[in-house]
Amino acid sequence: MVSIRLDKVTKRFGKVVAVNNVNLEIEDGKLYVLLGPSGGGKTTTLYLIAGIYKPTSGRIYFNEKDVTDLTPAERNVGLVFQNYALYPHMKVYDNIAFPLRLRKEPKSKIDSKVHEVAKFLRIENLLDRYPHQLSGGQQQRVALARALVKEPSVLLLDEPLSNLDALLRVYIRAELKRMQQDLGITSVYVTHDQSEALAIADKIVVINKGIIQQEGTPEQIYENPRNVFVATFIGNPPMNIVKGAVLEDGTIETTGSRLTPPPAVLEKIKRLKLKNILMAFRPENAVVSEHPMEGRFSPMGDLFEVEPLGRDAVVTVTVGEFVIKVVMPTKEAMQLRIGSKVYVNIDPNTIKYFDPNTELNLEYIEA
């Protein structure tokens, strides 16, 4: 099997730097998700791994072999596209057989391989159809079959679920994850959908502006974002950010409320000589109520809106200049009156502190 290593890889298109000095190691047999907004450089990174683009500088390794100058075929990668890119004039069978025919494999071998992969993906009954006679989910499977039939060393998926409707996406997502684990194939998966990334990834690589913002397990990314961008990109709704002033006595003051940060944070604030600080917390780590709660940091604000989403509701509160979203049980949320004064009771242990100048999480700044 294959691990992938990108060593100081940069890709420029004219004046635009699409991928900027990226170092990345993708472990053997793992599913890595490249996550970021559109235009962030994730598809370019994928195409660099595939060999469709040549890096402007830097090297790419499969295991210890330098593949920078190899063609996609020589790298033996399987690629699945957002629009599936099935050859419209070929039947499903011929679509899947196409890469094998290009390798000039014997007919009987091609036939048995096509049927094997078709059986694996449960599309055997579709082999005689044209792509336009298939549903989106079926086309997606055919595209996957065509990528897998080559027994690639690496499976690359470029927004493979984006063209499916929301319900189907959740099902196929689980199937993809299971299939990847069963095959144990090193996979790189590009998406802009953070919930998809959290659901499917062994490791998430958040990319924006051609730079890796953070790399880690879904839990690490979710619980402890490295910077403000990651904090506000991951989660639905994402983290709330509140700016506070650091006072002489070591407390933080924001919109009339005071908080004493943990000693480790305070120490870093002192060392960095920060006058201001950004505090971030997840919507589910706070509760909105009419009275402040014991042991919580509870700034006061106005209840703006309540959106019930079944079991939970999204409660929007304006606290001074900040708009804060809290996820709490619908039953409790519906007790609140819109427009009334409320307290946002934040669990202080879950608050993350960011340097407003570098937008870095203080925990990631070396002591």
Binding site: A50, I52, V77, F81, A85, F98, Q133, R146, K150
Partner: protein
């Protein structure tokens, strides 16, 4: 319902009028004239005389027994066939070449190939008049003389020594050069409309450029191929402007450089001014054109291409 009809007529009226005025009426007039003994545009005298199929009989007789007319028929077949192949496959080659170039290069390249089409016919023909001129000032002659390939100027399109090949070469060359850009533009835009991912997918699957052309680009542009072929066949059957000027300016032989369409034009307007015969020849050409068009569409599988999709859309 009445309002609908009125508004239909209002919106379609102007276009229908133009079509009727410039296409339908002349078509009927032309067919009608082929049944009259009209000569020298003497409309008052001949327009009311009906002579049945006499012009067609004369035409048939000329084709059968006049060697010059045999030359017209052979020239037409050779001209249409060879130029068609050049236009379609040349256009295809140019489209492929420009498709695999980078954008800027391909735009410049295509612009160059479009120049003949953008040049007025007279100017374009004049260019080739100078090029193929039978005296020493002809560009081709002066090049060949400089290279010592010939020792005195040659009349490629006129000298019986080189006929019919010399004349054919010139008219095919001149018309082919204009014609390729049409196929190039159609094929190029057809290739461009194929999703880029298909090409990338094929590359990832290990397809060489030749394989991509053979397995992806060509099969997906079958319809454009049919269209360009049939369309170019029609226009080659009917075209005569450049060839007419080259014949009039004595660059190519008036017998072996004359296609059927040009024969129609010259018979009606310059040589014998026998409009009745010309009208019969033009009607005959139109019938041949329609038949060939239908045969070509059938042969290239047009019906299969317009079948309704079977699955969900």
């Amino acid at each position: 319902m009445r309002i609908r009809k009125a508004s239909l007529l209002f919106f379609l009226g102007p276009a229908l009028l133009v079509v009727a005025l410039f296409y339908i009426i002349p078509l009927f007039l032309s067919v009608y004239i082929s049944f009259t003994p009209m000569v020298d545009w003497n409309v008052n005298r001949y327009l009311t005389q009906f002579i049945g199929l006499q012009n067609y009989e004369r035409l048939f007789h000329i084709v059968m027994y006049d060697p010059d007319m045999r030359a017209v028929v052979i020239t037409t077949v050779v001209f249409v066939l060879v130029t068609l192949i050049i236009n379609v496959f040349g256009g295809l080659l140019l489209a492929l070449a420009t498709y695999f170039m980078d954008e800027k290069m391909s735009a410049t390249y295509q612009g160059l190939w479009l120049l003949p089409r953008m040049t007025p016919i007279a100017v374009y023909s004049l260019l080739w008049y100078y090029f193929f001129h039978s005296s020493g000032i002809g560009i081709l002659n002066s090049i060949l003389l400089k290279l010592h390939l010939i020792d005195h100027p040659i009349a490629l399109g006129l000298d019986p020594k080189y006929l019919p090949w010399g004349a054919w070469f010139i008219i095919i060359f001149v018309n082919g050069l204009v014609g390729v850009s049409y196929g190039m533009i159609i094929f190029y835009s057809a290739f461009k409309s194929i999703p880029k991912e298909l090409i990338i997918a094929a590359r990832v699957d290990g397809a060489s450029t030749t394989r991509i052309i053979k397995h992806i680009l060509l099969p997906l542009t079958k319809w454009h191929f049919t269209f360009v072929t049939v369309w170019q066949m029609f226009s080659l059957l009917m075209t005569y402007a450049q060839t007419f000027l080259l014949v009039e300016w004595r660059v190519v032989d008036s017998t072996w450089g004359q296609t059927w369409a040009l024969y129609v034009f010259r018979t009606a307007f310059t040589t014998t001014k026998d409009q009745g015969l010309a009208a019969a020849a033009s009607t005959f050409l139109s019938i041949i054109g329609i038949v060939l068009g239908i045969v070509a569409l059938k042969a290239l599988g047009y019906e299969k291409m317009i079948l309704e999709p079977k699955g969900d859309i």
